[in-house]
Symmetry: C2
Subunit: 317 residues, 2 copies
């Protein structure tokens, strides 16, 4: 399968009935302060509260009827899990979700809300992968990896198509990086539609596996990172993702934990949207001066908005 | 001046370059729970964070050049103050804002941000009105009342025009009521565009002056209310507003303080937008069953999103 704009356009046609066209927001006040023009693509307002609905829907609705009949399975405790359960529910098939036994109750409920079948396992990557393979072997369910799957990455790239329709002539797109699925899809779509654009991945400095890999020219694995940006706590980017990132992405920059919390709070207050910490990293990169964007038109993807309202990071002692 | 759809349409043309076309959001999950279809018009995402920018811009850009030359003045410590300062800045004229000396620092800063000239006074309505008249007499500034001004109410009504374009066939519009400017504009626009629609005003039970007035058939004044919905702490609806409300509004319902906080939190969590307490009253009316909307298409206006992120009401002891 050739990973190109046509694939992403086909994904867009496929998933259109099942996702939202999310708005692009701007703020004159933030623009004045930053000395640049910022455009925020609000995937926190996407169905199930994250861009993950795009990739999950594309994977689920790409299945043949025979494949679909035996369902899908993934291991995730986060937004991909809820998005996959939702997509499966929309197609009327079973989603098996492998979650660590210590997953927060709210995440378990989210998956349950969409009718996902939950299998608990130990909280290690090895245990999660083993449980996922076992469920797949027992049920025939198709594994839908959260990021190392080109159907998923193509679905994620559909946000960039909409973004460039609604905010043309962007000079930059800044994109949070966890496993790299969104970054791949975004880079391929954006560069095809607008070859002069720069696509920058942003990672927490505490979870800089992709930044390290990008500089080293090979996939580097790190211990499970402890960043507050829980959606970006990946050890290593995907095998399928990495060559695409190497080819299409201009740079990967990193931001501090304090910067993530400050950026999150500032966007709640000034842009008036609820975003999760992972979604704040791109704006944190602007605030921390990690990208030279003075006078430019800069697109930022706000990736998700699933937050525990009792646990706001700027209110913690 | 006849207060009709044409006046509101003219306001819309006048203010279009200075306001945002705010999105209408929906949530399948909330719809399922409520047994109805909800459409949220996000005026919290409006310039300066509230629908007040519409009325303020209409008032300021309706002035003749001679009137504009001497500026505008209002007394308000809330969203109207910031919106009027912003509108005046856009026209390049002076906005005098009379604020009580005990106004929160964040509100003072908001007005200062848009270049408003602040006059402090005692924290009583009489002192505020006296200071406002004095500034007007000394400077020639035109008084722009927060709600009892038909240019302001016409500007506020422009949100309903957009709402019915983006969410046609609404059976209801639920609208928070403070002084009644937004409710007037909304009711007149909505009934003209879609005669079968029901327009319902929603007030905190602690600030039910308009509900009382509506039932009594005359304007009733109440002591300054202590509701958490600080944007709705008005003593009495406007002289100009009340006959319009009597003629065009179908009902005024009230909601509890607990209901406002619960509704606010639920919309932050589930709709993923930052709204202030005043903006939550319409959804609180749905949650508390104050309006019979089962199976209907219901529009709710989320009026503003200016919140102190250190003081979230569900986290108070």
């Amino acid at each position: 399968m050739s990973f190109d704009l046509e694939l992403i356009r086909a994904a867009h046609e496929r998933i259109r009935p099942f996702i939202k066209r999310t708005p692009v927001l701007t703020s004159d006040a933030l623009d004045q302060e930053c000395g640049t023009r910022l455009f925020f693509k609000c995937e926190n307002l996407q169905a199930a509260g994250a861009f993950k609905s795009r990739g999950a829907c594309n994977a689920v609705f790409s299945l043949t009827d025979a494949e679909a009949a035996t369902g899908v399975v993934t291991h995730s405790s986060g937004n991909h899990a809820a998005a996959l359960a939702r997509a499966a529910q929309l197609r009327g098939i079973t989603a098996h979700i492998v979650m660590p036994a210590n997953a927060p109750q709210s995440k378990v409920q989210n998956v349950g809300h969409y009718g996902g079948w939950i299998t608990f396992c130990e909280a290690t990557l090895a245990a999660r992968e083993a449980a996922c393979s076992r469920v797949s072997a027992q049920t025939g369910a198709t594994i839908v990896h959260p990021f190392d799957d080109l159907r998923v990455a193509a679905g994620q790239g559909t946000a960039a198509i909409e973004f460039l329709e609604d905010a043309p002539d962007l000079d930059f797109i800044l994109c949070p990086v966890g496993g790299g699925g969104l970054l791949c899809g975004t880079a391929v779509a954006a560069k095809a539609l607008h070859p002069g654009i720069k696509v920058i991945g942003v990672e927490p400095a505490l979870a800089d596996d992709v930044a390290q890999s990008f500089r080293a020219g090979r996939r580097i694995s790190i211990p499970t990172p402890l960043t507050i940006a829980d959606g970006l706590r990946t050890n290593c980017t995907g095998e399928k993702n990495f060559p695409i990132i190497q080819r299409y992405v201009d740079d990967i920059v990193t931001v501090s934990e304090e910067g993530i919390v400050a950026a999150m709070r500032e966007l709640w207050e000034r842009l008036r949207v609820v975003i999760e910490p992972s979604a704040a990293v791109a704006y944190a990169a602007i605030r921390e001066g990690r990208v030279s964007v003075a006078g430019k038109r800069v697109g930022l993807i706000l990736t998700g908005g699933n937050v525990d309202m009792e646990q706001l990071p700027w209110l913690k002692k």
